[in-house]
Symmetry: C2
Subunit: 338 residues, 2 copies
């Protein structure tokens, strides 16, 4: 089978590609080719795999060519992140809405020309939820909570969910929107996401670097580890239409934790000195965005697919440490505990 | 003040224009100019009004020019209807989604160049609601019911609601989405809407013409008369942001009636012989679409604006008859009762 992963050079996309290539199969088919599109090239280990073809550049510039290419499956992960979309409205519309629309139309054109109907998993986001004057935000957002996005990013994700549902209803694709929880701990540098600090307050202290938490320790948030997020995307791909249950977006499992719980877990795994590298310094812009996010989520439909959140945040910290240890950069990323 | 009405040549748009011109004011401002855009020219009485400027052609072809034109207010009613959008997927995307996006971007560009932020009322639809495998449709859909559109038309309306909410949040427009109930009785010929028969089973018998009802007499549906629909659009325009309550779409008031109630009302107003001109002949395509529509709606937010549905369907039949009597075509449209 031939797969397309948009955003395949990014953290989630590259990890998904690596996991799929290691499995070798997906939904019973043998993976023969994986096309990775992204604005930057994928990591070297992926480029070294003969099954991988990397295409570098904006997705929007690549969709015309996709009209004549048949894929068995697509993981559509390419996206500008929340902070970027708030700062640059046009960027968000182009990267998240226009690119998705052009991708869907390319897949539709290929089907109209006789190509196979591709299965498509879309990475939506818990950012579709928010409070609106007419509808308070519940303590935990569920699959059937009324979305009221409070960011352009959340709006664009929700709009894409509905477009994908309609293209699916019409038989142009077999689409499924999975709402990702905040993926923590992300490796590397902070990014433009307003949620970036959720990774930073774990990642930086483990590297012996001070980190600033811009919100109160009481802030609660739905999290998922990178590995569980990838498990979720694959399970959603492999589900039958009946198992996916309808066409609306599905929440992926979340561990609902407070910032203070995260830091307790960090201390438990890495010690008191590491925890003390986190300093609280309120950032009104970030705190304002986060205040409109749900404090937690449930994921009933995902549970029926056998998907579960981590039991506690210490598991997530430990997963990050284990991931780092496998890399040549371990000495740097885990400086504080080595 | 200068107003833009897209779809201003259509039934609802022309009636809205007529009502606004007769009032002479809107939200405390004097109406000096009304620009009507539509694929067909507006009726002659509107063209004869010195305040009216008609621009004929697809909205999408007109949006570039709108980037340098400042409007105080916009009623965005232009839309392909549900049946058309099911039959022609591209038409729906172009007429309902791309055109709205281009209009919003034109208004945004004008604001960016120093123009006044326009108030915008968008005619969304009760078609945003539907049953999904994960979420059953409630007996009555409320303002806060989770939308799960089952048509491309409903999907496109919902997507536009969310785009308008986000452009509003960003301060590019002051937008409000009002969900229209099925407008009955529409004059003229049947149109491509799957709901067209709801008007046909009243309009045709009154003209002495047989009409076919493609669904069971037990089918219930949320209706609104043309006059109440116009009242709703104007009240939503005139509401303050606080009165509108948030940024999510608002249901306009509905009279929830069964087809059999509609025919009882027709008989009550126009007699048994007129009612007998309606014949039941099931159309699976129409019945299938209608089966996914809600049987009724509530409108709590609209009620706070003082908006109410009709008390009974006989009022709606009588309004149609009174409207017809005022026109030179009365002899034809009311042939059965004159």
């Amino acid at each position: 089978m031939k797969l397309l992963i948009t955003g395949g050079g990014g953290f989630v996309g590259a990890r998904l590609a690596r996991t799929l290539l290691a499995r070798g199969t997906l939904a019973g088919g043998r993976i023969e080719q994986v096309v990775l599109t992204d604005i930057a090239p994928p990591p070297a280990d992926l480029l070294a795999d003969a099954r991988v073809q990397a295409r570098t550049g904006p997705l929007l510039a690549q969709t015309d060519a996709l009209r004549t290419e048949t894929f068995d499956g697509v993981f559509h992960l390419a996206s500008a992140v929340s902070g970027e979309c708030e700062a640059d409205f046009e960027l968000g519309l182009r990267s998240n809405l226009d690119s998705t629309r052009a991708l869907l139309d390319a897949l539709r054109a290929n089907v109209a020309a006789g190509g196979k109907v591709p299965r498509l998993v879309f990475s939506s986001s818990v950012a579709v939820f928010g409070p609106d004057a007419a509808v308070p935000l519940p303590k935990l957002v569920a699959d059937d909570t009324l979305p009221a996005p409070q960011t352009s990013y959340g709006t664009q994700k929700l709009v894409c969910e509905h477009l994908i549902a309609d293209y699916t209803r019409k038989g142009f694709i077999d689409g499924r929107a999975a709402r990702l929880m905040t993926v923590t701990v992300r490796p590397g540098r902070p990014n433009g996401a307003a949620s970036s600090f959720f990774s930073g307050i774990i990642r930086e202290p483990l590297a012996g670097v001070e980190s600033i938490c811009p919100v109160s320790p009481d802030v609660s948030h739905p999290m998922s580890s990178p590995a569980r997020t990838i498990d979720g995307l694959i399970a959603v791909y492999e589900a039958s239409r009946e198992q996916f249950l309808g066409r609306l977006g599905m929440n992926l499992p979340a561990l609902n934790v407070k910032v203070s719980d995260m830091l307790d877990a960090l201390e438990q795994v890495a010690g008191r000195k590491v925890r003390q590298l986190v300093r609280f310094e309120r950032d009104e812009r970030i705190a304002g965005i986060v205040a409109n996010w749900p404090g937690g989520a449930t994921a009933e439909r995902a549970a029926r697919l056998g998907l579960k959140p981590h039991e506690n945040f210490a598991e997530i910290v430990q997963q990050y440490i284990d991931d780092c240890k496998a890399l040549p950069t371990a000495a740097q990323t885990l400086k504080a505990i080595q």
